[in-house]
């Protein structure tokens, strides 16, 4: 088993989070969120991977043949759907922000003194 996919997952999570925290542009910030999400895809697929395993479709391969775990693939698919919804809504809000303020800088959205 290789540690590489886990290292990639951690790297994507951290670098995406850094993007969210430091971003000065809403689109960049939303894409950073997608990068964080990409780390969960990598992690899920790495968890279910089996070296030498076939795709888990047993229509044309014998059932005794080792295959990768189909459950994590289903989880990733759900995860992608969730991510698409979140990104779509966030981008729609970003469009509204740009319409209203003419800027995409999250810092400019901060509220003034109370």
């Amino acid at each position: 088993m290789s540690f590489l996919p886990y290292a990639v997952a951690v790297w994507l999570f951290v670098v995406g989070l850094y993007g969210i925290v430091t971003s000065r542009n809403l689109l960049h910030q939303i894409i950073s969120l997608s990068v964080v999400q990409a780390s969960t895809y990598v992690l899920l697929l790495a968890v279910g991977f089996r070296s030498g395993g076939a795709a888990p479709v047993f229509a044309d391969i014998p059932t005794s043949r080792p295959a990768v775990d189909p459950v994590v693939q289903a989880l990733s698919l759900t995860d992608i759907v969730v991510g698409a919804t979140v990104s779509a809504l966030l981008l729609a809000v970003a469009v509204q922000v740009h319409k209203r303020t003419g800027s995409l800088d999250p810092e400019e959205l901060r509220r003034g003194p109370e």
Binding site: F13, I20, T40, V47, A94, Q96, P106, E114
Partner: protein, 590 residues
Amino acid sequence: MSPLAPLPVAVPLAGAATILCLNTLLTRRAIQALSMATVFVEVGLAAALLHQTSSGTIVYWFGGWTPRSGVALGISFAVDQLGAGGAVLAGVIAAAAVATTHRTVDDAAGVTHALLLALLAAMAGFCLTGDLFNLFVFFELMAVSAFALAAYNTRSRAALRSALNFAITNTVGAFLVLIGIALLYSRTGALNLAQIGREVATAGHADRLTVIALSALVGGFLIKAAVVPFHFWLIDTASAAPVPLAMILAGALDTLGVYAIARIYWTVFASPVAGHHHAVQAVLIAIGALSATAGGALAVTFRDPRRRLAFVMVAHTGILLIGVGCLTAQGVAGSAVYAIGDGAVKAALWAGLALLGFSRPADDAPTESELPRSRKRAGLTLLIAGALATAGLPLFATGLGKSTVEDAAAAAGYPWVMPVAFLTAALTGAAILHIAWELVRDAPRSPAIATDDQQRSWVGVFSCGAALLAVSAAASAIGQWATTAGARFVDTTGYQQRVLNGVGVLPTKATPGLHLSADGVLLDLLAVGAAIILSVAINRDTYGSLYRRVRASTLQAAVRRLHDGSIGDSATWATVGTATIALVFAMSLR
């Protein structure tokens, strides 16, 4: 197997779809009625489920995929008393939110109702599910529908910003939860809570992977619960969100974050960390106490009523977390009573603020028009009654819940929770009373409301608030139910047997019901008294100078700057919080 189990989720979803289909055909009034009817059906179904759970956990396997020789194959709803109770609470709060929608949201259309119903479906599913991945999906559905609602008022810059803050921070939380799920799946090959619990229990002790999974899950759910330091998104959202969403956030959504921690602890982690449960206890109680005191103190020093109420929410979720953090049946029972009693009160407080003209974000100011006298009086009544309940007046369930949590904490070796809870009750009560005194004192300071607002009837909103306060008062009578529910909730093996083997022995030990002792009543009354005195002291000009000096201090300015809605700050603190939890767990759970 009860066929009722999936209906509290299915009915609101079907209702939401129907409303969207008929949106252009029906009048606004008809849509409101349809939405209201759907919520009432959900409450009825959840109440029927709650009734059935008195004879044990109800397990429902979707598509009839029942476990084979004790191994879960399908996806299940596992409904116990607390889960069904949560679905009822979510329904009651959603009913109040839907009922006030057309009075508090401008141009509320079918979309608003569809989003509210989707949010209700997600909350119900979150309470009823017995599957960890399902829990994540409902977590995301809650977040997505709630943040679409938060962004509903696109005229307001504050509303748009807070929706972004809410969405980004909560989605990071959801990914933390998902990472926890992936790690647990890699260790156990299971997603069913009972199955995961059984697999990790056979491993004996918590290995490093399980500890990381626990930290990620706790961090993710604490973001939803919005306790300090995960609370920044909530302050921002509550200060600009439409009133119905604020009511649901205050009454149910935050509570569910704490519920999820309790659920995963007792189904999965209770036995692997059994030898080191003191560390988990210490971490949860410390975060809860920090949240309670910081939330209470900041509630008093912030001026904007909506932000104040948001800090009260943070403080009280802290008390809930302390109750769960005791890791005993008594603590869970106390938290359950507190969640119902306090959730209803906070939703009623939002109804009061809506009556007083705070239903819009500050930067979406309406055309000026004076608040009608009768409406102002109604709003102030709700606010003052709610403030007394917040401080723990024994008439309401908040008093019973709080003193049970204190007893449970003392029994677990944390006697200092008592003064912390006392201080929190006094501070939060004073913060809300002070809003009322200010509105009474300087009539001109009360905000103007839009002319068309003025013509709308306020009686509906007031009755909703009053009904919620009545729910809180009635919840004082559920002491016996709460102890039984708490005892069954913490019975890990019973849950596993019921879900995986279809048989389960209920804990037979008779549990005495919760009731307020004479000391508890006295203490609660003292807290109410302290809240009144404190609020009057702040309001009087003689002490006002000290209060102003505190508000003008550099520390306070820094705290205010921290809460000005930066998404980066919000995400940073959530990360710091989760990392700290992971560090403490990694060092102490081995």
